[in-house]
Amino acid sequence: MEETKKKSDQSSTHKIGIYLWIWGLLFVLSFFSYLVDWYQFQGLLRWSLILFFMFLKAGLIMAFFMHLYWERYALVNVLLWPMTAIVCFVALMVAEGKYTLFSRLFYFFVGG
């Protein structure tokens, strides 16, 4: 494999332009997400913008800086599927958080 590696090393690595592009893009996106706070957007708009920029940045870092875009699907899938467990956990904890808050407000403050 060492031989193989040497050969492939000399051949094609990615052009530097890609990295510079992504790099610039990350700065721009970070700036945008900062602006979300600067202009004090609130409510659903704030949330969707925060999440949008967050996932875009995360995606760019993963895809290009961490080379996932060039990796084979076997690796990509192994890495991404477990996230469904996290998504499920998040969704349920949102419901749980709301329920806890309701219980506290209802029985300790509002009453009825």
């Binding site: 806890t100 219980s103 506290r104 209802f106 029985y107 300790f108 403050f109 009453g111 009825g112």
Partner: protein, 291 residues
């Protein structure tokens, strides 16, 4: 050969044990007959599978134990058989799940006419609060709890004034009247559990949890704490007495309300500070027995 016989005896023994066991559930005293029925159903289905699988295993042990030179069957897969087994199992599981979910739906939907009972737990004891004439419980706060206000009721809350306070481990309930148990803990997790009522729920500090049941048999029952709550867990018992409407109302009228308590407190001098129940760490079974 003898191995198969012993395994067979184990299966047979299990079945016989189940049939003749003197240890089985206590007589149910609430509306949750459905839970018992689902358990029975699960027993029939599950027990059947257990016996079938094990007997098949025993049969294989008898029939196919090692003989020099015999050829075992070479058949890596049988798609059809596997499919049949999968679907049969799925069906069986679904049949067990369905009643479970239906009863759970009843369990989390409390009837409108249920009497709300505030069960307050601490290490290691219980006390109870019933709504007064307005039919509503007042809001509470742990930080309000002190000698004058043992339940921590928010004094400003108009609903709280007429709440009936039962400062005892024992509570009376009215027969055939649904009860919504509102569980509250001031320190750690507890669980107000009466085996005869079949139902239980943890009391969690910081929130109020609930469940409901409808007692349908007059009698006295023991309350157990069913969530580990420290070293006195096993001694954290209480009692419920289910009474007919008349007896219950009689009992109810003897209880004091928050209003009464405040009035009484104002009269009392504070030189003899009452021992707060929470201080009671002494645990041994002799004390329990005295109770």
């Amino acid at each position: 050969m003898h191995a198969g016989i012993i395994f067979f005896l184990v299966i047979l023994g299990s079945v016989l044990f189940h049939i003749f066991t003197p240890w089985y559930w206590t007589d149910i005293a609430s509306n949750w007959q459905g839970m018992d029925d689902t358990i029975t159903l699960t027993f029939w289905v599950g027990g059947g599978v257990f016996v079938a699988v094990c007997l098949f295993m025993v049969y294989c042990v008898f029939r196919y134990s090692y003989k020099e030179g015999r050829k075992a069957e070479y058949k890596p897969e049988d798609k059809k058989l596997e499919k049949i087994l999968t679907w049969a199992t799925t069906l069986g599981v679904a049949a067990l799940l369905a009643p479970g979910l239906i009863i759970w739906n009843q369990y989390v939907n409390v009837p409108k006419n249920a009497l709300e009972v505030d069960v307050m737990a601490w290490q290691w004891g219980w006390q109870y609060r019933l709504p007064g004439e307005d039919g509503k419980l007042g809001t509470t706060k742990v930080t309000n709890i002190n000698d004058e206000n043992p339940f921590g009721i928010n004094v400003d809350d108009p609903f709280g004034r007429d709440d009936i306070l039962v400062q005892s481990d024992y509570i009376n309930l009215e027969n055939n009247k649904p009860v919504k148990i509102l569980l509250r803990s001031v320190d750690v997790l507890h669980n107000w559990y009466v085996p005869q009522f079949r139902s239980k729920m943890d009391a969690v500090p910081g929130i109020v949890t609930f469940y409901w049941f409808e007692p349908n048999k007059v009698g006295e029952y023991e309350v157990l704490c069913a969530e580990y709550c420290g070293v006195g867990h096993y001694a954290m018992r209480g009692g419920v007495e289910v009474q007919s409407t008349e007896d219950y109302n009689q009992w109810l009228s003897e209880q004091e309300t928050f209003q009464d308590l405040i009035a009484k407190q104002e009269k009392l001098e504070f030189e003899n500070k009452k021992i707060v129940k929470n201080n009671n760490f002494i645990l041994n079974k002799d004390i329990y027995k005295e109770e």
